[in-house]
């Protein structure tokens, strides 16, 4: 066996840890997408008229829009009529965790999110979205004492309509792209958080997304507003069962940071990636954007992307407030036949704004991994700076890494720096670790973790540990 083959065979194709399904009675919308579908969803959620109107408007846009064609992979055929746009566990209207179907709780336990336990021990407030509905939000009362609102999107529409109306669609307009329009029309649930002026959110807020039902899509929406001088750290995790057909996930996340506010948004994305022949897996078409609306505000995206058959996402920051800061830290690992086209946009509008992009791509198997980043410094943004470091690591010689930077600087006092590297795991590094008793699989995992550590270190502690494990497992031939 050649050295390359040897290396490759050690990290071919692991199984997916989260591929089980939950047998639970579901309420499903009939397949298909038309105005009636949207009315059905809105009615199920008992929404006010304005919300329905907003959805219907988005649907009109959706019908006018076409699929994007600029990404570095052929766009798959997506049959929008073959999807059911709403799926909910039958027991609904949950007031507390005790009312949650035990089978569902068991699912979350399998995913490593013991809600009960977390409620007591960890100090992480969790909102869990199962298919289309949000099933439990822990710690709500405790957060409420400080005026923090953390609830499902549906509840926010009911209980905080003024906030939702004020911010919804202001960062990601309905017309942004076809998936954003679709989401605006059919979004089922998601999370909402509002941190009042001057409040430092005392715990990580966290949402876990889970697609369970067959032939459904997941279209959640997250809206986070950090009022003046507040701080919040938010984590999102996602998994799905193994299924032979592809499932669509088209989410929208909007972040708003007012004067002196800071939002740290971390994602560990582990949707089902499909099998080694490329069958099945989630199509992940996601629009995430934040606006540093106020002066001295900061938005930081950290993402660890290991799942999905296709990942198409560009968490971005609009740096509107003077002296605001945008950051994007990303690890994207692809293997087998996974495709990822991911990166960020940093739009500098305010004076002395700064942005930093650290992207670490890891490609193995027959996968293709593209970084696509736009840095745009407008004339209105003197004294601004961007630093971009974009690294690609190749494992084997059948995969591809690609970089597409778009740089635009309309300001002589502003500076954009871009560095890019492509490397392979060196044989002598593997041998060195082997010589210390570490087998090749573990050696590769260790090297990859090291390579990604600059990004992993940005994650909140306990999630960094999880992410490291996930990277190791994703590269493993056998699942632990």
């Amino acid at each position: 066996m050649s050295k390359d083959e040897h290396l490759l065979s050690t990290l071919a194709t692991n199984e997916y840890d989260y591929g089980f399904t939950t047998n639970i009675e579901m309420e499903l919308a009939p397949k298909g997408l038309n105005e009636d579908t949207i009315r059905y969803i809105s009615e199920k959620k008992n929404e006010p008229e304005w919300m329905l109107e907003w959805r219907l408007k988005a649907f009109k846009h959706f019908l006018q829009m076409s699929m994007p064609d600029w990404q570095n992979f052929p766009m798959p055929e997506i049959d929008f009529q073959g999807i059911s746009y709403f799926a909910a566990p039958k027991k609904n209207q949950l007031k507390s965790l005790d009312e949650v179907d035990p089978e569902l709780l068991d699912t979350f336990n399998k995913l490593g999110i013991p809600l009960e336990e977390q409620k007591l021990l960890s100090g992480v407030a969790v909102d869990a979205v199962f298919d289309s509905v949000s099933v439990a939000t822990t710690f709500r009362e405790k957060l409420a004492e400080q005026g923090i609102i953390f609830c499902s999107f549906g509840e926010a529409v009911q209980n905080h309509p003024e906030l939702v109306k004020k911010y919804l669609g202001t960062v990601v307009p309905q017309t942004d792209n076809v998936f954003a329009a679709l989401n605006a029309a059919v979004f089922s649930d998601g999370s909402f958080a509002y941190i009042p002026k001057g409040v430092r959110c005392p715990m990580e807020l966290s949402t876990y997304f889970r697609i369970n039902s067959q032939n459904t899509g997941q279209f959640e929406r997250t809206l986070l507003v950090a009022d003046e001088g507040s701080y919040v750290s938010y984590l999102e995790g996602c998994t799905a069962p193994m299924r032979d057909e592809n499932q669509l996930h088209a989410a929208v996340v909007e972040l708003i940071a007012l004067d002196n506010a800071e939002i740290k948004y971390s994602t560990v994305q582990n949707w089902y990636p499909g099998d080694k022949e490329g069958k099945g897996g989630i199509y992940n078409f996601v629009t995430k954007r934040g606006i540093c609306k106020g002066k001295n505000s900061k938005i930081s995206w950290t993402q660890v992307e290991t799942g999905s058959a296709i990942t198409w996402k560009y968490p971005s920051v609009i740096l509107k407030g003077d002296n605001s800061v945008g950051e994007f830290y990303s690890v994207a690992l692809t293997r087998n036949k996974q495709l990822a086209d991911t990166g960020t946009k940093m739009i500098h509008l305010g004076k002395n704004t700064r942005s930093r992009i650290i992207s670490k791509g890891i490609s193995a198997g027959n996968s293709h991994n593209s970084y696509r980043g736009q840095v745009s410094i407008h004339a209105s943004a003197p004294g601004s700076r961007n630093f971009t470091q974009c690294d690609s690591l190749l494992i084997g010689d059948r995969c591809g890494a690609h970089t597409f930077p778009y740089i635009e600087n309309r300001n002589s006092s502003s500076v954009i720096e871009h560095e890019a590297t492509t490397s392979k795991i060196a044989e002598d590094q593997i041998f060195y670790l082997n010589q210390r008793g570490i087998d090749t699989e573990k050696a590769v995992a260790l090297i990859v973790n090291g390579y990604a550590s600059e990004v992993l270190n940005k994650l909140p502690m306990e999630f960094a540990v999880e992410a490291r494990k996930l990277l190791a497992v994703s590269l493993d031939g056998s699942v632990g």
Binding site: F431, N434, R436
Partner: protein, 251 residues
Amino acid sequence: MLKIKNLQAKVDDKEILKGIDLEIKAGEIHAIMGPNGSGKSTLASVLAGNPGFEITGGEALFEGKDLLDLAPEERAREGLFLAFQYPVEIPGVSNMTFLKTALEEIRTHKGLPPLSAKEFMQLLKQKQELVELKTSLVNRSVNEGFSGGEKKRNEILQLAMLEPKLAILDETDSGLDIDALRVVAAGVNKLRSEQNAFLVITHYQRLLDYIVPDVVHILFEGRIVKSGSKDLALQLEEKGYDWLREEVVGG
């Protein structure tokens, strides 16, 4: 402990080891000297299982086991350690994580439970003192940005942590300042016992003043052409390799 018979190896169709015979017993220290390019590092690499070399003949038994049949990590777990002539850098992986992972693998192989975090730290501290390696280095990424001498000391720290049966030191002395040389040699002397053995590759008799070998071998163009007591090293220091060349070519 180690028994090598007629070992031959090549790389890219170039024959480098042309039949090595060597036997090392527990408790012994052997030194290998020889001109640049004679095959010393190749021998070390082949024993450690570097897949870049092809074995074309001969055999090697380690503690009775067929060494050449084992994967590199299995040889390591069985107790064979190589302190590299050129230790590689592994960016982003902390020395600590690396040591802990390695130690766990080796302990598991021995049927020992993993050390608790506290026990591990205690052991590390103790071994660190032995090689006088600064704590800041232990916390950094493996060899990344280390000076040449720091890398060599780090190799000895690993040796001390993993406690192998047979340690091969490939020019661990080159690049060390005089003080570091003493520290490393003292470390090795503290680690040596009746149960383990060392194979020390060096160009300089100076190291052998500190680590006193039982046998000195001279490797020349892929063969061990002479073996003797530590006086052989003195002889080399004095006369260089030319007389040997004549002797070998002549004979």
